[in-house]
Amino acid sequence: MAEELLTIDHLTKQYGENVILNDVSLTVHKGEVVVVVGSSGCGKSTLLRCINALESIQGGEICLQGEKIEQEGKNITALRQKIGMVFQCYELFPHLTVLNNILLAPVKVQKRREEEVKAEAFELLKRVGLEDKADSYPRQLSGGQKQRIAIVRALCMHPDILLFDEVTAALDPEMVREVLDVILELAEQGRTMIIVTHEMQFAKAVADRIIFIDDGKIIENSKPEQFFSHPETERAKQFLNMFEYKRK
């Protein structure tokens, strides 16, 4: 088995008295694609946000290549650079062009040479079919285009792991495909990813492993073939049934 990249050990997340993630443990290996599914409000986004230290945690620990991720830690900005994240709502910087959105962090934070990053940015933009949008502003793009740019922006940081939080949930149906295709290509390149999605067909195709969360707990952790054809728990069966349409 490949090396362990991310380890989540007995993670607990609470908002006040409200337990959102309850004793969650998960290991992600290098090159692995983990898809997280579960009904709305079960804690999927919270899990990703904890991995990126956007949320404080109340118990357990999260380590990236052995380094502990802590919200108040000194090296948190360095760790976050190794974790690429794309959110559900378009979170590009509206005052910057597409190219400057992509360049900002590699140039200003990682202090890499602008020429080098620019060349890489154009290479990636071409791969997602948007090289002609480099000088556009986010407001001039469609939702699907914005999400592809957000993916490129994350990739340009050379992250070790990518987190995707329902990146197609706010898109019109005809734009879902173009974004998911980009993610599929990343999977083929052997990138390590944790993907939260409600697109079950996509999950089946992209996942090495499916994590099913119910009420803040991981209750299934299995191969996609196993999960989709023979879910172990009643909750997972009910969940999968929601995606089936049959006439009574």
Binding site: N52, L54, R80, Q81, F87, A105
Partner: protein, 224 residues
């Protein structure tokens, strides 16, 4: 052609006197604006914090300034405080003081509004890219705040310039006061002068404010 009394303008140095009056109005408003903008930014950022005492004092200040007509504030400071505290305040100083008080209140409210209008996910996506706090403010939050703020503060500036027409009421000889003086002096020789002179005053205010509001419109379009 009706007699508009325009010829009065050319008598003696009347036009120069009007321009000098406009100069006084502009001087007072520019000093007040120069003070209000940094103070307003400072206070607007301060009240965006969590301290409830600062917030409470600020609310009272803002409401008080908002409710009070500017003229009442001018009278209060110029006639009221000079009597009550026995100090000697020139009309111009009192005007600068009142306009700064007012401008700072309005400006701080604009800054506060612009800051809270930046959505939370802008902070979060900056953090997710590894930006630290000061990089987030410098590259992401402040540029967006300034873009929202600029057209609004330019509108405030033109409002402040226009409102200086009130300060003749506390004896400051600004453009409107000069106009009255000219009209009064020529009542016998050109009884129609009022129209021409006030029309000139109108154009003077227009020349002072119009470029500024065009700039606001331009920036609004550019940064939409």
């Amino acid at each position: 052609m009706p007699d508009l009394g325009i010829e009065v303008l050319l008598k003696g140095n009347n036009l120069m006197r009007l321009l000098a009056g406009l100069g006084v109005a502009l001087k007072i408003s520019l000093i007040a604006i120069g003070l209000s903008i940094p103070l307003g930014i400072l206070i607007g950022m301060l009240v965006n914090g969590k301290n409830p005492i600062i917030k409470g004092i600020y609310r009272v200040y803002l409401e008080f300034i908002r409710i009070m007509p500017q003229l009442v504030l001018l009278f209060l400071v110029y006639f009221g405080t000079t009597r009550a505290f026995g100090w000697d305040l020139s009309g111009e100083t009192a005007s600068v003081f009142v306009f700064t008080l007012w401008g700072t209140a309005e400006m701080s409210d604009l800054v506060r509004g612009a800051l809270i209008s930046i959505p939370k996910h802008q902070y979060e996506s900056s953090a997710a890219l590894g930006l630290n706090r000061s990089q987030t403010y410098f590259y992401v939050i402040i540029p967006q705040t300034v873009r929202r703020l600029l057209p609004l503060s330019i509108n405030l500036i033109t409002r402040m310039i226009k409102t200086t027409s009130l300060i003749l009421m506390i004896g400051v000889v600004e453009v409107l006061k000069v106009a009255q003086q000219i009209i009064e002096a020529n009542r016998m020789s050109s009884p129609n002068a009022a129209f021409g002179i006030y029309l000139t005053v109108f154009f003077l205010y227009f020349i002072a404010c119009w470029p500024i509001s065009r700039l606001a419109a331009y920036l609004e379009k550019k940064w939409r």
